[in-house]
Symmetry: C2
Subunit: 185 residues, 2 copies
Amino acid sequence: MERKRFFPKNTMRSATTEIPEKASAIMDAAERRIRTSGYNGFSFREIATDVGVKSSSVHHHFPTKPALAAAVARRYTDRFEAALAKAKSVEDWRAVFRKALVEDGQMCLCGVLGAESGDLPAEVSAEARRFFRRSLKALGQLYGPPSAVSRQSALRVMAMLEGAMMLARTLDDPSVFEEATRNLP
Amino acid sequence: MERKRFFPKNTMRSATTEIPEKASAIMDAAERRIRTSGYNGFSFREIATDVGVKSSSVHHHFPTKPALAAAVARRYTDRFEAALAKAKSVEDWRAVFRKALVEDGQMCLCGVLGAESGDLPAEVSAEARRFFRRSLKALGQLYGPPSAVSRQSALRVMAMLEGAMMLARTLDDPSVFEEATRNLP
DNA sequence: GTCTATAATTTGATAGAC
DNA sequence: GTCTATCAAATTATAGAC
């Protein structure tokens, strides 16, 4: 028994993202594929199959592949920042990366994009760059006011977390992540 | 004026690799492409164009795409180990990564493959795994005989170098690598 | 919004002449 | 070993009916 709706079904917005349900499902599928195979490793048809529609319907929501990937990266950055908005220590950061790796078995989306950023569409590499600029700024604040020292600490931690994730996945051994990131500065 | 040859021209071997000249040129092109765009980011036709032949000629030297990528990764590992055979400190390791990044503007081949290792052909991901296993072993020896401590040091340094490379490339700023990897343990 | 149909291109791979 | 020619499949993307 459905209750009366304040909005027609198709235009309902999720409380957090303001993105239509179907577009959200498409982005979910695309995010999973990109985090597994990279930007060049997914197709509109795969995404369509994942969601249960045809590829032309995916194009209706996202006109081009770069546009879809950029939207996914932007949402990823938003969620990442929300998850770490209240982070008090580098251990909170470590926990977010660990969770993605161990529970979801996934890489950092922007780590994957960054690795192949050599010839990514401009709008996609721009989102990857934005992710790291913002993350480094937030991470640096854990080490005091902006300075050469706090910046270096942020760079070291970010490099470590991203590198450890890639190593753990390649070696198919989560303990690699635990070992590499134990006792971060 | 050519001197007499001991081998027909086509089967001359390079002194270091024992790989025919043409196959070597194909691997050079493939390596450059993979380190820029990843495994899913290159095609036989692009490689053929780079080398100045047709794609069917590439297939003559390497029957399939996974076979070509695996051969490239194997040769990369060999060269990497040769370059670091006499390494006395972690600074030597850092120098090799820096050179690739700054002088050649390229990522670590196996770092790129590792990032998209989620659905790589088995023979390709196996080579990426082999690269890191062997590298970690060699790197650990800088920190004394095999132990939990030397293993952890190797993991930390490797994660840092790979992560710093990816960060520097994504942000298009070599100083990111310098900062992140200054004063490695 | 989703579908069918299709265009235009690219992909990995093979057959066979030279 | 390299070429031409070709294949079957997949790719991104668009037009238009419902």
